[in-house]
Symmetry: C2
Subunit: 900 residues, 2 copies
């Protein structure tokens, strides 16, 4: 039981764990002299004890509370139930982290048949007094005494009584009820309570208080609160504190009011006093949205003294808390009271601006600034956005069609197409394109590149569409299940509407919304400076602040940050975002361009090593050119190149018409080609003939790829640019797989170096992406000069869970709290993380200087990056648009350890 | 360099590692007074040194060899190149384990232009002498001097010269060449050697000897030898010894001869002197098969003294080596010489008989007997066999069509059918059935039960077909790739032949052969006694000996042995074979019988929990009956029951006609059913919505199954039979999965116990079959009372390798020695084994008395059982027909540890 009032408080801001955010900050504000109505806080420990003890309050609590009430009465000069000067209090929840609106609050506690009269007298408004009492009885009856609707469709009983009375007296609005009406209403409410609860509404304020306290504790585990905590990853075991605080009234006439304010603009981060207020109103009225609050600036005119006082409070708060504050205040008869303050939530844009500007204002140091920006929120700094007003208009016009998973942040509008070819053609004509697919495959890649945005009806945040979208910084909404994509009719149907090919759709990949028609977008400033180079950096404050923050992050972080990129333009983007190398170049993405796919297919259907060699020979120059472009773009930075990984059938057509076309092209009988495709079909392609298993069975493929790499390296080196290829063999499970593949690579390197006279400083390593590799890492490290953790596949194999198929059960797993986070988005630390640790221990045992990286999708996830830092990795690699996030997260990982 | 001769030897039988099997036993035989021609052995260490030293012989060897030759000359009174009494020797390989015919041997070394004359004189047969010399020159030229055919299709050069001369002199057979012809031939051979090798054939016997020794070392790494070692898992690093031994001649006329003999019959194990010989012949002639050797009994008449001497040798050998010996002898002029002895290879049947009878003869103790029978070879004691003669006749008639993988041991003939329905129908008519499929699925189960044998064109030894076949003791050949199964034409084509439905095929699942038409079979005696109960145990010696061995094994072993069985008859068979409980009852196999599949399908397509509950209610009585049968059959033994595991789409039809039928049956629109089936399709079903993920999403399925188990248990217990169900939740990866499923089971158990008044002693546990489960085993053991390692899936996930898809690369992996054993047949100890060890450590940390078992296919594999014993498992579980193997292997695991 922590008391606060009159400039003194038992607690302080550091005791959030014990007092909850609200309680701790009420104490803190009291201490620093801000006008806080006195009260006391019952700790979260009492709440957890309450639950541990089968919802019974601990024995000593009563006595403590009595003493606190006595102190409160002494301080305020008011007494519970006093006929002259009654004490009224609010009873509010207050968890360690804010859970707005999730738990119960009871106001005006202390009102009864006697004290209501005093309130009527003292406020000069009997209507206000009786209405307050009426509301208290109703709320108390509902929340504490359980007088609630029975079943989903039943009427809320208090509402029923209220509506009945209004009908009887012939008024429409609550506010038209007279004090007399309200007295009658209270009488009927009491009868209702007696009937429903079997007990009378308690007249004794202390009894009222205990009921309210228990109700608040109970509301910690109401359905809404549980769902909210799950969503925001708040542990259920934290519990809530309860704040009992003297009431102040913002509704005592035009010299009273209430409001919420931010010490800076939470959307833009600008250092302006931002907020809204209502005259003659209680706090709920602001939230309820019945009356439209007015901007805080207007208060200056209306109540200059109160406004000046608030301005002073704003300064005090920022100076004291050294962070942007979001606070609630009430003005009672021209006196300002503070009811709450907390660190304000903000957009990513605002987070950067506030953090950097506060450093400038010497409010915080750089390390603190780095911790102030949630790493993930940086993506909003990079993503193009919908014009706010246009989006609102679209929703109002009923054009919000459905929602999917926010897979590629940003917003995009485009003409609907259903396949890659059409996307390319339409984009070629200069039209904005939105590629709509049931789901995407590598064959759609060109279309995805051409499109402004990607929309799929199936697949999760880690589906092919989402993966590629993030790598390319492409806007994407995936798994929008309400969409019915009809390829043959070239339409997509959704909720009775039909959108035809060529018509516009707009998607917001930050929130997952799909709109009919166009919604205007704009690229973010930072991207305009860094990537588009069409905005001068001096002209962009957003860019300069972003760059400052990134610079500070780079000074702190220990982890290297690389990127996953297959094409020179991707590499250039990533470098612009600060990538220090390529951590994963997927060579197979290079197989889909133009006529090279024909050579790939020829190679796959080849029946003899000779025929295969001939097809590979055709591919060699393409691959070499690809690597030349990449090496040039990377200018001496290391480039990790993965040899061919996906199962071969991914490169072949599956439908008979396409098979027939290909058969003609390759001059093969249709039956033969069809049989070969059938033969390549696999029950579980994820676990099939792919990765280094291809290179083992067809060493000539590895050889061709190695040759392309080394010949490209030699050529680029001749032009004076250093090249550092790191050749990575995928899906190794057995020591000898890597040995055999290394032999091919070394042999080829030797031959090319001899022929070209260029000495190439290359490394050879492997992906650790099946559990066995992690377990025998010591042996693998004999050959491998580096490990790169392929956490996508390591998660799939380690958990025995297919990314593509998990959609049918993973949502249920989240709901039942079997998984805390999506293991495909953030490293499953007890399982996959443990494998990584075992691999590191084994690998470093054999080779102390073993280079360690991660190139799965997790490389761009802040929690995973924190894990990677702790585990001792050398670098993380992620998609270009996540490079800034990774830089920041890597710095935060260091600081988190320093602070721990 | 180890010398042997005249009753003394440097080496002995224990030095096999150093001297090779042949060398060690030559020394040993010399020591125990058997007539061994003197000689010396160059150790395997020299061979490994030779390879380590880039194929150079060590420096000191020459001097040692010279001393050994001197000693040999002194002992025999013969000298290399001596004009009066020349020393002739053989130079033979001799590895630690026998590799018959794989390496090079050189005979008659020491012959040259001078000594050949002495041999001609002393043998009284110039033709023999010149022919010996001719053969020596040819062999030496080929093996030592590298005069060999160039390219695959080129003529063998010595053969060409020989054929040329034969044409010139007008003879057809080699034996028609006169001594003069042979001299001319030798002259031409020498020219050939000079031309090809650029050196003359060496006349100096010591030079000859060194050439021969190097050649033998080199032959350790010829292609044949490498392939052989791979097949029989002989390490390449062992190397071979070289034996240089004084020649004896079995071809000096009718008082000479040569032969091979076994101290007991290697096929039946009967204690008879068994072997064959040729008069006037060298050892090669017996092997070459040009002349037909005669049974050893006839020697008694022909050379009674030599025969008696051999009988004496046989007794000495068995008494000394205490194992059945396989030896080679030569009779030179009525004197018997021993050239080799080794432990004889034998069939499983023979192994049992010999081991048990040798215990009776007090030659060995019971523990030694247990180690004498390769556990796997017991399957031959249980499998029905082809009639030997009939099989031979079939092969001779060209009816051997192709080979596949030996997947279910035994032999079977039947009429070809292509689907389960036809199999059942045909079997119903009393016809023997052979089910031929491209591959099998659970839907084929009834057909597999009905069939005598199963033949598939696709799938490995762990494919569905093989798995089910072994569990049911069904004969199976799988992955016979030459078969082209044409379902629509109802034929199978193989090598130009077409076998129609209804025609006979015969398969031998012990060796993987497929025959056209019928080959006669017979059940094994042991099965007749134990399972068929149609043979009195007293009447079967084979049974009594088998039972003795099993009894001894049971006294020794520490591991329990359970069985994988879903049906009462399987359970009864397993009990007959000694199973102590059921380690895995797959409840889904119960879903395919009769009308229950309709209820299963109704459950799957249900759209509401209510509809699903209604379908499950229909299934409940079926499941309950199944469990009643099983519990009764097990009579108080523990029964581990796995809740539903396979993905739901496995229960639905995939072809549109069948979908239409089902739609009619379920009164659903075709499109709706089709859409549901499409929705259930998975990219990687192995990693998809299966195992406990079904029970998590549809807890009502788990509840129905638990109810069926407990209601059955209660009913059977009421009848006085104790029931010990162990409920096993599959595919657990997260602690909470098991918690949630346990709650359903416990709740159901409580309800049933309350209702029936029966207290049921059940356990709840989980399968450890994904790597994550092994890694978080400590947490899982909080809820799990037992772990059962599902090594099939643990191998698939741990290695990232699909059993069904590994056929395209695993053979290459074996060939390139990436894997030493098929990981789906024998536990991959460094990877999967390590996971098991981690799981055991974690699990036992939380729960010291945690019961640990294995229920993957590996539970019946001796190497895996050895691992399980070492790892500290409580029991192994395997298919009924592998129970005896597991019992023996478990005993051997104990003894191996004792001996180590």
């Amino acid at each position: 039981m922590y008391f606060f009032g009159a400039g003194r408080a038992d607690g302080n801001a550091k005791l959030k764990t014990l007092l909850g955010g609200k309680g701790a900050n009420l104490a803190e504000m009291t201490r620093i002299g801000l006008p806080v109505p006195p009260g006391f806080t019952i700790t979260t420990e009492v709440c957890t004890g309450y639950y541990a003890n089968k919802r019974r309050l601990p024995a000593g609590l009563k006595g403590e509370a009595d003493r606190a009430v006595t102190r409160l009465q002494k301080l305020t000069g008011k007494r519970f139930g006093d006929a002259a000067n009654p004490l009224l209090v609010s009873v509010r929840s207050g968890a360690r982290e804010s859970m707005p609106g999730m738990m119960d609050t009871i106001l005006n506690l202390g009102l009864n048949d006697k004290t209501v009269e005093v309130l009527a007298r003292r406020s000069g408004s009997p209507r206000f007094a009786w209405d307050s009492y009426r509301r208290f009885v109703q709320m108390y009856g509902d929340v504490v005494m359980g007088v609630q609707a029975n079943g989903k469709d039943a009427h809320e009983p208090f509402e029923e009584v209220l509506e009945g009375l209004k009908r009887e007296v012939g008024v429409e609005r609550d506010s038209d009820l007279t004090p007399g009406n309200l007295q009658e209403l209270i009488r009927r409410y009491k009868q209702l309570i007696q009937r429903h609860a079997g007990r009378a509404f308690p007249q004794d304020p202390v009894t009222q208080m205990w009921g309210a306290i228990e109700a608040v504790f109970n509301s910690w585990n109401n359905d809404r609160a549980i769902v909210y905590r799950r969503k925001y990853k708040i542990p259920h075991e934290w519990g809530t504190a309860v704040n009992v605080q003297t009431m102040v009234f913002g509704n005592l006439g035009n010299t009273s009011g209430t409001g919420v304010a931010f010490t800076r603009d939470p959307a833009s981060g600008e250092k302006v006093f931002y907020g809204e207020y209502l005259i003659n109103a209680q706090g709920e009225d602001v939230v309820a949205g019945i009356r439209t609050p007015r901007p805080l600036q207007e208060l200056k005119k209306e109540m200059p003294k109160a406004h000046a006082e608030l301005e002073q409070i704003r300064r005090t708060l920022e100076k004291h808390f050294r962070d942007m504050q979001d606070f609630e205040f009430t003005i009672e008869d021209n006196r300002v009271y503070m009811l709450q303050t907390r660190n304000g939530k903000r957009t990513g844009l605002a987070a950067v601006r506030i953090a950097v500007e506060m450093v400038g204002e010497k409010l915080i140091d750089r390390k603190t600034a780095l911790m102030r920006v949630p790493a993930d929120s940086l993506s909003s700094v990079l993503a193009p956005v919908f014009d706010r007003n246009d989006r609102k208009a679209a929703e109002a016009a009923g054009r919000l069609l459905c929602k999917g998973l926010p897979a590629g942040p940003g917003a995009a509008s485009g003409k609907v197409v259903f396949n890659a070819e059409d996307a390319v053609a339409l984009a070629h004509r200069g039209d904005p394109v939105l590629l709509v697919r049931v789901e995407t495959t590598p064959e759609d890649l060109r279309g995805m590149i051409a499109a402004q945005g990607i929309l799929t009806a199936r697949g999760g945040v880690s589906s092919h569409a989402a993966l590629v979208a993030r790598q390319m910084g492409k806007v994407c909404v995936c798994g929008a299940q309400d969409l019915h994509v009809d390829y043959s009719a070239r339409v997509v149907r959704v909720k009775g509407k039909t959108i035809r090919e060529g018509e516009f759709l707009s998607i917001d990949g930050t929130v997952g919304e799909v709109f009919e028609g166009q919604v205007q977008t704009a690229p973010s400033e930072v991207v305009q400076v860094l990537v588009k180079k069409n905005l001068n950096s001096r002209k962009s404050r957003a860019y300069r602040q972003f760059a400052s923050l990134m610079g500070w992050a780079d000074q702190v972080r220990k982890l290297g940050v690389r990127t996953n990129a297959d094409q020179p333009d991707q590499a250039q983007t990533a470098i612009a975002f600060g990538a220090e190398g390529i951590g994963l170049c997927r060579t197979e993405h290079m197989f889909f361009g133009g006529s090279r796919i024909d050579a790939v297919r020829e190679m796959i259907v080849a029946e003899t090593p000779e025929a295969r060699a001939a097809a590979l020979k055709k591919l060699l120059p393409f691959q070499r050119e690809d690597f030349i472009g990449l090496f040039k773009a990377m200018r001496g930075r290391p480039v990790t190149i993965r040899t061919l990984d996906p199962p071969l059938h991914e490169f072949l057509p599956q439908e008979s018409e396409q098979i027939r076309d290909l058969a003609d092209k390759l001059r093969l009988p249709y039956e033969k080609l069809s049989a070969r495709i059938h033969q390549l079909h696999e029950a579980n392609p994820m676990l099939g003939h792919r990765g280094c298993r291809l290179g083992i069975v067809y060493p000539e493929i590895t050889e061709m790829q190695a040759r392309a790499i080394f010949e490209a390296a030699a050529q680029v080196q001749k032009s004076g640019v250093r090249v550092r290829p790191e050749i990575m063999i995928p899906l190794v499970a057995f020591e000898k797989e890597l040995q055999l593949q290394s032999e091919v690579v070394h042999r080829t390197a030797e031959a090319v170096q001899k022929k070209t006279g260029q000495k190439i400083a290359y490394l050879i390593g492997t992906m650790i992406e099946v559990p066995r590799a992690a377990l025998v890492a010591e042996g693998i490290a004999q050959t491998a000069q580096f490990f790169s953790f392929g956490t996508n596949d390591l998660t799939q194999t380690g958990l025995g869970m297919s990314r593509d198929d998990s959609g049918s059960f993973l949502p249920v797993y989240a709901e039942r709290e079997i998984v805390k986070v999506n293991p495909f988005a953030s490293i499953d630390q007890p399982g996959v993380g443990r494998l990584i640790e075992l691999a590191i221990a084994g690998g470093r045992k054999r080779r102390r200087d073993l280079k360690l990286g991660i190139c799965g999708e997790h490389g761009g996830d802040p929690d995973s990056i924190d894990f990677c830092h702790r585990a001792g990795l050398s670098y993380v690699s992620c998609s270009p648009y996540r490079v800034p996030i990774a830089r920041l997260a890597a710095a935060q990982a260091v600081l988190r350890r320093e602070n721990a």
